[in-house]
């Protein structure tokens, strides 16, 4: 009898595993997802932090749904900068099947032959992607990447602290009236892009001359800047600590919810339009599983819940169709055509220009004239001299003391 009960329990358990009670995602073609069922496959996904719906706040738990649907175990890890991903791949220590870095990093990875070409026959949902995202500048042949989210960079400002007539242009960030109330990005690409755009150059510098001019502008601006920040911008803007900050539109929406005094505009000189896209690195062990995951993320319902959770804009037409209008008609996330027309994508810079950007960035952040160049050499010599003197003096005294007492114990010198 007991055995029978155990059997029933086991059967129920097996049944409940194979037909999960709450797997409610509607997928276009369910049979496509069952190919790897029961093969014990593992998929290593590397994505930005807080960049997928994870089941909190009544959202869909995307990773879990995928695991239940396909039987593929997902090993989900996060990163916080594109450069971190690059360094990890270069060091060769980590093994990933799917990455979601930004446009310029993808361009660089393509140039350095670090990415695998995608097999689009495994990604039927690619048809959901909006036409304007096909063959983007960072992936001109469109063979390596599938867009995940996009957004623009604009200026977030506090309506109570900024006068309305000052708005509209990047000049706001150089306005001396707001000295000490301006925040800037703590990453070189965005800051130099803004300075270049304000000078009337393309956001991707074409030569070191343009870069040098932008550096001068940023140096002048440094006196007005309160701090160079990334995610600290949330606290500082919501708390009213700073008045003005350039940041990503998707995050601006989040901030505006927490502090109704905040507003957002895209400067009329034009701005950067960024895309985070899914790519598969060279040497990925489970390429087909990764393509299956890409396809799953492109499902209308999955894409919609991700966008609801992240707050960035979606390149997925099917997802946009089922999202509520208060999201799809928000001009911050989905700016009108004339704004979009003036945006630029990031391009990959040549290695020389990349190096020049880094040099200029360090120069900007360490241009402090209080210290003279010879201080360190002098310090080194003095320290060396002191260390030698101490040694010599000590050795000499030890010898003398040993001579006096005929023992190894030095006498106390009080």
């Amino acid at each position: 009898m007991k055995k029978f009960a155990a059997l029933v329990i086991a059967a129920v358990a097996v049944l409940s595993l194979s037909v999960p009670a709450y797997a409610e995602v509607e997928v276009a073609d369910e049979s496509y997802y069952t190919r790897f069922q029961g093969q014990g496959k593992t998929l290593n996904v590397h994505n930005w932090g807080e960049y997928i719906a994870d089941g909190s706040d009544d959202s869909l738990d995307v990773v879990k749904e995928f695991e239940e649907l396909t039987g593929i175990q997902v090993n989900y890890t996060t990163f916080s900068t594109n450069e971190e991903v690059y360094a990890r791949l270069r060091n060769g220590g980590a093994n990933y099947d799917l990455l979601i870095p930004s446009d310029y990093m993808i361009a660089r990875m393509i140039r350095e032959n670090m990415l695998e070409k995608l097999d689009f026959s495994n990604i039927p949902n690619f048809r959901n992607i909006n036409q304007s995202f096909l063959n983007p500048v960072f992936d001109p042949t469109g063979e390596y990447s599938v867009p995940y989210t996009w957004g623009t960079v604009g200026v977030i400002y506090n309506k109570e602290m900024v006068d309305e007539e000052d708005l509209g242009s990047w000049d706001l960030l150089w306005n001396e009236k707001y000295m000490g109330q301006i925040l800037m990005f703590a990453n070189p690409r965005d800051d130099f892009g803004i300075a270049l755009k304000r000078l009337g150059y393309p956001m991707n510098p074409e030569n070191t001359e343009q870069l040098a001019q932008a550096t001068d502008e940023l140096k002048k601006q440094k006196l007005l800047v309160q701090a160079y920040v990334m995610d600290e911008v949330f606290d500082k803007m919501i708390g009213g600590e700073a008045a003005i900050a350039p940041y990503y539109a998707g995050d601006a929406i989040t901030m505006m919810v927490d502090n109704p005094n905040l507003d957002f505009f895209v400067p009329n000189e034009g701005t950067n339009r960024f895309v985070d896209a899914m790519v598969i690195p060279k040497g990925a062990k489970n390429k087909e599983c990764a393509e299956m995951f890409i396809n799953f993320l492109l499902e209308a319902e999955v894409g919609a819940s991700n966008i609801e959770y992240i707050g960035y804009s979606s390149p997925n037409d099917a997802a946009l169709a089922i999202l509520p209008p208060e999201i799809t008609e928000n001009p911050v996330a989905y700016p009108p055509e004339d704004v979009i027309a003036k945006t630029e994508f990031w391009k990959d810079l040549s290695p020389e220009l990349n190096l020049a950007v880094d040099d200029a960035w360090t120069e900007l952040l360490s241009s402090d004239d209080q210290y003279s160049r010879w201080l360190v050499p002098v310090f080194l010599i003095v320290a060396l001299g002191a260390s030698i003197t101490i040694n010599v003096v000590r050795a000499r005294r030890k010898r003398r003391e040993r001579g006096m007492f005929g023992t190894n114990y030095p006498a106390r010198r009080l």
């Binding site: 900068t81 070189p188 009213g240 320290a383």
Partner: protein, 269 residues
């Protein structure tokens, strides 16, 4: 013989996780990406002299402040009763149970323009004072985070100095100043030198404190190294060269302080 076999795992650990990485840093610092020998990166570090000076200066200032706070405190604790000592040490350790980042983050909220201090001062019509995003805030962060590392070695050395020694010095005609300079200070030198190292070394290489409290506008040497590995240009060779110069600098400082410490070791009771 037997002790040798016991120490083998430690030795292996040290070779794999301490010695090998150090050699790797040195190797990276003097080679190009293609693997040929070069001094280019090391000489390039000279460009960043202002950053280096600033880091050493800030670390020096915070070490001195730590010492000035910790020395009297350690003495006071060491003269307390057993229970008093235990609870005082406990209180000093208590903040360290919290995450380092969280503690630094809390200082952001305290020092900000709309922070706790300025809001309090506003009641009396003072302010707002500009405290965050200054070198002072960075030093404060260093002192706050590393103070326990100064107090603990000083305390553990002072607790071994018996009261009778101080009384004897007083009997023999020392005034308070002489008791401190001729008895207490020489006896506590080993504690001072290890305390100085424990505060100076992490202070000079920190990067998160300057980023959170210094506003990210003025780099420290730690930020610079971070930038080389996780920055736009990804240049581990230059990063290693900077790290190497920093290591040599620390080594120098340590050998200097060690000399002072060593000198008096024979005299410890």
């Amino acid at each position: 013989m037997n002790s040798k076999s016991i120490s083998a795992p430690y030795l292996l650990w040290m070779i794999v996780f301490i010695l090998a990485p150090l050699l790797l840093v040195a190797y990276f610092a003097v080679t190009t990406p293609e693997g040929t020998l070069t001094m280019e990166y090391v000489s390039q570090v000279g460009e960043y002299t202002p950053v280096l000076t600033r880091s050493v200066w800030l670390a020096f200032v915070s070490t001195v402040i730590c010492f000035l706070i910790a020395y009297p405190l350690a003495f006071i604790i060491s003269r307390k009763s057993g229970a008093g000592q235990r609870s005082m040490i406990m209180l000093i350790m208590l903040p360290m149970w919290m995450n380092f980042l969280l503690r630094t983050y809390a200082w952001m909220t305290i020092l900000e323009k709309n922070g706790l201090i300025n809001r309090f001062l506003a009641h009396f019509g003072i302010g707002p004072l500009n405290m965050i995003n200054t070198s002072g805030a960075v030093v404060l962060g260093m002192v706050y985070n590393y103070l326990p590392f100064m107090i603990l070695p000083l305390y553990s050395i002072m607790v071994k100095i018996p009261d009778s020694l101080i009384e004897a010095a007083q009997d023999l005609g020392c005034n308070t100043r002489q008791v401190v300079t001729r008895v207490l200070f020489p006896l506590s030198v080993p504690g001072i030198s290890s305390g100085v190292i424990m505060v100076f070394v992490p202070s000079v290489s920190t990067f998160i404190i300057s980023r959170m409290l210094g506003g990210g506008g003025n780099l420290l040497i730690g930020d610079l190294i971070d930038l080389q590995f996780l920055g736009n240009a990804y240049n581990p060779h230059l990063g290693s060269a900077i790290a190497l110069v920093l290591m040599v600098l620390i080594l120098l400082c340590m050998s200097v302080t060690n000399q002072f410490g060593d000198e008096e070791k024979g005299g410890i009771l």
